[in-house]
Amino acid sequence: MMNTWMPRRIATTLAVLLAAALGGCASNAGGSGATSGTVTSEADPATITVFAAASLTEAFDELAAQFEVEHPSVEVVLDFGGSGTLAQQIAEGAPVDVFASAAEPPMQSVVDAGLAVDPAVFATNTLELVVPAGNPAAVTGLDDLANSSLRVALCDVSVPCGAASEQLLRQQGVTAAPDTLESDVKAVLTKVSLGEVDAALVYRTDVRSAGGSVEGIEVPDAASVVSRYPIAALTDAAEPATAAAFVAFVAGAEGRTVLDRFGFGAP
């Protein structure tokens, strides 16, 4: 059936792309084979892969860029997602050098699997109410999340921002009426910036990095639920020296400056 509608030219293009991709794989494998087991030096290009929580997206883009400036031979490859998904992928053998989680349980699962030791908390975060620019539904506080006539998005409780949201709502005695429970905090933020929901709970750092399409509303007592972000180099890292250097950089003074700028608290 496929042949009747798929032009032959597309099939040819796909075949060429596939061949190119396979060729790329082969040359990459040769490259890392040549460098493995040696300490990274300036002349020896190294690539490290960093898995980081979705809420770290903007801060880690900046941190990786700075790290690459300081270490011109190093390339940092970033992958962002829900911390639980990332931890799961690491446990299944994803080739990762550094993991930065938005909460301690996902990191703990990686440690329990023997894939990381001594994670260090390098940043903290708190929640904030977020509404579309102009606050069309005139949201004023956490209580509005219980209003079923408003469109409300929250993180699913299976991801760190959802667990933190649930804890905060319970502490404040609010029974939220969400219209959707999203798989990570950036998905929640997108629904707000598109104006599809009237209010949501996200990290205050997300509000800051979202720019003018959203507005943050501070929640009194938000500081009572603090999300702690641990980071660790993985024991199976292909580039252990570079991975350790990146972790030290993020947790160090330079990392702190960047994290401060994006609104992350100190541990």
């Binding site: 059936m1 799961q88 299976s158 999203e182 998905a187 598109l194 599809e196």
Partner: protein, 272 residues
């Protein structure tokens, strides 16, 4: 001469056979891994969980509705596409491309596009909300719309294939005997392509059942309302991989069951 005639005519050259087996392995090994690593012992307990049942019921209900919508809209669209062979090149290709796009588009992109059309600030959605107080995202209807968007091409191409290979002389005969265009379509064309329609509906249903990207982007994820099996499976992977695998297994079982029930002759060109 003697050597060439010694080949069994249906036998593949060995490089072709090796690559064919490798290709099959790519398709089958992940499924085997899923089956092997499934938490079989806990399965009875996992499958009766409230969250699993809710997702299963929602998935079945929405996929059936999506298939119904696809049948109503897709069969006429297939008829148009089959008829378009007589059109000039450009509109014919544009029409074909328009039907093909959802097949090659990442479903998430489809979800974003639906949001920009039917969302509260969307091209059509803003008017719907203003005039009728109707919002579509985050409703079960949105799930069905997302499923229709991604699965309609499957039905259209299956029916179009059947229409092209159908014997047109019967239609001509009916028309000559005084049947109106509608009567010809209803009493001659449709029965003629019924196997193609059935095959298309089955493919459409299984694709709708597996829909994830467009749904989570456009409809969101709320248990019992928009959280279908694939979304429930994805979210469970964050905290409870055993439940995620159980859900995946359930989807797999339904899909394989449906495809096995599909008889070969319903799929033109797939006959072994």
């Amino acid at each position: 001469m003697a050597r060439t005639t010694a080949h069994a005519p249906g036998r593949l050259a060995w490089p072709v056979a090796v690559l064919a087996i490798a290709g099959l392995a790519v398709l089958v090994l992940p499924i085997i891994a899923l089956i092997v690593r499934a938490p079989w012992a806990d399965l009875p307990e996992l499958l009766v969980r409230e969250s699993v049942i809710a997702a299963l019921v929602l998935s079945f209900g929405t996929a059936i509705m999506a298939t119904a919508v696809c049948l109503v809209l897709g069969v006429p669209l297939a008829a148009l596409l089959a008829r378009a062979t007589g059109w000039p090149t450009l509109p014919r290709r544009l029409l074909r491309a328009a039907v093909t796009v959802p097949l090659v588009l990442p479903p998430v992109v489809g979800g974003i596009a639906l949001l920009l059309l039917l969302g509260r600030r969307g091209l059509v959605g803003s008017a719907l909300e203003q005039w009728f107080g109707l919002t579509i995202p985050f409703t079960t209807g949105a799930v069905v719309i997302a499923q229709v968007f991604v699965s309609l091409p499957f039905l259209v191409f299956a029916v179009e294939g059947a229409l092209r290979s159908a014997d047109r002389r019967t239609e001509l005969a009916a028309a000559t005997l005084g049947a109106s265009r509608w009567q010809v379509f209803r009493h001659v064309t449709l029965p003629l392509v019924a196997p193609g329609v059935a095959a298309g509906a089955v493919l459409c249903f299984t694709r709708a059942l597996g829909e994830f990207g467009a749904t989570i982007t456009f409809a969101g994820s709320l248990p019992g309302v928009t959280r279908t099996l694939p979304i429930a499976s994805y979210l469970a992977m964050q905290t409870d991989p055993a439940e995620a695998v159980a859900l995946a297994l359930l989807l797999l079982a339904v899909s394989i069951g449906v495809l096995l029930g599909l008889r070969d002759r319903w799929l033109p060109g797939v006959r072994g």
